[in-house]
């Protein structure tokens, strides 16, 4: 069964090619069948492989499937191949599973809209690229997948390309992640130049033997890889693109910007844990970035009024949790949270999509209210997702994964307790903002009445994801991942106080949200709903001013330079040659006066010159 590994990325890729080739010629039902079916078949293949390989993987087995040799230059040979271990098996199940559910949902979401063919083509390509990314056994093939998901993100954010704001958002996403990608490429070059190979296993081994922890080279390489991860996963300081990326259709936000692409950075750091272990300063940086980001984004989510932007900031925050866990070496916990987050965040987005669609494309929560009566399915789904996000203990998958992270963060050496404090505060804010959304959208006075009905293709995925968001914590994911990721050393013990805090904080957050957004709101007829001073609230809503900062520091100077260089100074080399030629022609033409005496004089002058040579030489 495991030999079918190559089919897992190949099936969505074939789907993409079929849809691209048959653009405009396939009837709508066929497009849906091809688009959803390819990912579905990939999921079945992945499940079959899991049935066969899960056992060996948990004990650390790695199945390698070489594909072909791409090029051989001198003594550097680049081979493409797939590697399956516990980590990548987990990732492909997440990607194909959530991917299939989102594809199914999209059938209903995009019903009656144009561009279905293009949509499923891009989505299939995205799934294929993401699978290549997680299955790659070499950093070069990983980078191919990395670029592929970046491209598809751009294409899918800008799906409704006729709207200029959407195009701007897509471009912003691409450019910001590009900054990170540049760092990643430089890191790859650094690695291949100093270690001679890009094969991940060989590279990790070579790094371990050749470098000591804290050397300049591994620190530099790890820092550059971190730059790439920060860009793709929307962490500080490159987090500005994700809220704007919500301009894309909701299924895109659910799949790409919640469950899969933004987790690519987390996967990268986890996969390269060997390298990061040799760079303790970078690991500290990773943990700090994660902690700061999760707080920053949680406050941002609290102040948003667009329901998708709330979820976007929430994603940034939750990935901050994963990154923080990676920084302290809790790799298993981070990936566990990645899987539970994929379930409940996709669930939240898809439920929000139902609300948006039924309200006639209304995104603003201030235009919603009291919808639990009209949209029971979406209400239950959103509630379950919110509970899992808020990490209600024991009964939600999110609760298990977040609790594991916080425990292992507290146990970590050095500044573990500070990170734990950030994570705990973040948990309180998380419960607060997500139940703010719940109360504003589904309770309180009605503002807009929903119309139409929700098709089954949209409700079925919601049901599956809801179940997963609740019971998914029972899967022994961290233990399974111990087959390929290191387990952190046990440190400080977490006493009964931690259990109490883990139990109480989410409930406290829910209660505060209930107070502010339900009781007082219905009473005071929706006046000032901000729990903090308005200036601070405004700053949170603007994402702590990062957009303004980047516009002033980067965008304006580039714009100025483009304006100044309108004549294209670099092109002057080529145009200069033609200009010089033309000028030379015009100058020399002036010697052709057509006058007899002038030509005679020229003859005499030439003679004088030649004689001068004879006289002087």
């Amino acid at each position: 069964m495991r030999e079918l590994l190559w089919l897992v990325p190949a099936l969505p890729l074939t789907g993409f090619l079929a849809l691209a080739a048959g653009a405009g010629r396939l009837p709508r039902p066929a497009v849906g069948v091809v688009g959803v079916g390819s990912v579905g078949l990939s999921l079945l293949t992945a499940l079959a492989i899991a049935a066969d390989f899960a056992g060996p993987a948990a004990e650390g087995a790695v199945f390698r499937q070489p594909l072909w040799q791409w090029l051989a230059v001198g003594d550097v040979a680049v081979r493409f191949g797939l590697a399956l271990d516990a980590l990548s098996l987990t990732m492909i199940l997440v990607v194909t599973g959530v991917g299939f559910l989102v594809h199914l949902y999209s059938l209903g979401f995009l019903a009656g809209q144009e561009g279905l063919n293009r949509f499923f083509a891009y989505m299939n390509l995205f799934v294929a690229a993401m699978l290549i990314l997680v299955l790659a056994d070499g950093l070069l093939l990983l980078y191919v997948g990395w670029e592929g998901v970046g491209l598809c993100s751009f294409l899918l954010i800008g799906f409704r390309y006729r709207d200029p704001a959407t195009v701007r958002a897509a471009r912003k996403a691409f450019v910001v992640t590009r900054v990170g990608d540049a760092g990643l490429v430089i890191g790859l070059i650094l690695l291949v130049v100093s270690l001679g190979t890009l094969d991940i296993a060989a590279l990790t081994e070579a790094a371990g033997t050749r470098w000591a922890a804290g050397d300049a080279l591994p620190v530099a390489a790890a820092a550059l890889l971190l730059a790439g991860a920060v860009g793709k996963s929307a962490q500080l300081p490159l987090q500005v693109w994700l809220p704007d990326a919500m301009a894309g259709p909701t299924p895109v936000s659910a799949l790409i910007h919640a469950a899969t692409m933004v987790t690519a950075g987390v996967y990268l750091i986890a996969r390269m844990h060997g390298l990061f272990a040799l760079a303790p300063p970078v690991q500290t940086a990773v943990a700090v970035i994660g902690a700061v980001t999760l707080l920053l984004a949680a406050t941002g989510a609290l102040a948003q009024t667009d329901i998708k932007r709330i979820l976007a900031y929430s994603t940034i925050s939750q990935i901050g949790y994963m990154v923080m866990a990676l920084g302290v070496g809790a790799y298993g916990a981070a990936i566990f949270h990645l899987t539970t987050h994929a379930w409940f965040k996709a669930l939240l987005f898809l439920a929000a999509g139902v609300v948006i669609r039924r309200l006639g494309d209304e995104h603003d929560v201030r235009g919603m209210g009291g919808l639990y009566r009209h949209l029971p399915g979406a209400f239950v789904a959103f509630l379950v997702g919110a509970a899992s996000l808020a990490a209600l203990p024991l009964i939600t998958a999110g609760g298990w994964s977040k609790e594991l992270i916080l425990t292992q963060v507290w146990a970590a050496g050095g500044g573990g307790p500070f990170l734990w404090l950030a994570g705990t505060l973040g948990a309180f804010l998380t419960a607060l903002y997500i139940f703010r959304a719940v109360f504003l959208v589904f309770f309180g006075p009605e503002r807009t009445v929903p119309g139409g009905a929700t098709p089954a293709t949209m409700l079925a995925p919601l049901a599956v994801l809801a179940v997963l968001a609740v019971v998914g914590g029972a899967f022994p994911v961290p233990a399974f991942l111990a087959g390929s990721l290191p387990v952190p050393a046990t440190g400080r013990a977490a006493g009964w106080l931690f259990g109490a805090i883990a139990f109480g904080l989410p409930l406290l957050g829910i209660y505060v949200a209930y107070e502010i957004y339900l009781r007082r709101r219905t009473a005071a007829a929706g006046r000032r709903e901000a729990p903090v001073p308005a200036r601070l609230f405004g700053l949170w809503q603007r994402g702590w001013g990062f957009d303004a900062l980047y516009t002033a520091v980067a965008v304006r100077p580039v714009g100025w330079f483009v304006r100044v260089n309108r004549g294209d100074a670099a092109d002057a080399l080529a145009t200069g040659a033609t200009a010089a030629g033309t000028a030379g022609h015009r100058w020399l033409s002036r010697t052709q006066t057509g006058r007899l005496r002038w030509y005679a004089g020229a003859l005499a002058g030439g003679t004088a010159l030649v004689l001068a040579v004879a006289v002087l030489a």
Binding site: G601, A604, G605, T607, A608, L611, A612, A614, V615
Partner: protein, 167 residues
């Protein structure tokens, strides 16, 4: 003898200078004749009587006469003389004068140097023998050239017929 040479040289130079600066064509031609005669004297002094004779007969006697014919044919009147005066303003001499001076200096630098002087007279008889001997081919070619000159001059100088006057 040398005094005669220097006198003749001065006359030749002065006459040439006058010839190129006159506004009236006929005056210029007359000065040209004087110059040519002075050069003929120089030829005789250098022991080349045939050259002296040919200079007078052909150069001064045929070529300059040809010039006179054309001047008369063109019948350039008073307005032409006025035009010449206008064309000959002093500023026009600067550039060519400089160029000519440079050329003269260079030629002078190349031509200075002592060597044996000319001492014999080369009689016409020897020149004739040379022409019918080693230079026979050259003479034949020159005759061809003269034929071409005649034909060319006749054709180019033809007055166009009335029906082809537009061409």
């Amino acid at each position: 003898m040398q005094v005669t040479f220097y006198l003749a040289s001065v006359v030749a130079l002065l006459a040439t200078a006058m010839a190129i600066t006159r506004t009236d064509a006929v005056h210029a031609l007359l000065y040209l004749i004087v110059s040519l005669l002075a050069v003929a004297v120089v030829f005789y002094l250098y022991g080349a009587p045939l050259a002296a004779a040919l200079e007078v007969i052909v150069y001064a006697g045929a070529i300059v006469v040809l010039f006179v014919f054309v001047v008369v044919m063109l019948n350039l009147g008073r307005e032409a003389a006025e035009q010449e005066r206008r064309w000959l303003h002093p500023r026009i001499w600067v550039g060519p004068g400089l160029l000519a001076f440079v050329l003269l200096v260079e030629l002078g630098a190349l031509l200075t140097g002592d060597g044996p002087a000319a001492t014999e007279v080369v009689a016409p008889r020897e020149v004739g023998i040379a022409l019918f001997g080693p230079y026979l081919l050259a003479v034949e070619l020159v005759s061809l050239l003269l034929l071409a000159g005649i034909v060319g001059a006749y054709h180019l100088g033809r007055r166009p017929a009335p029906e082809e006057a537009g061409r």
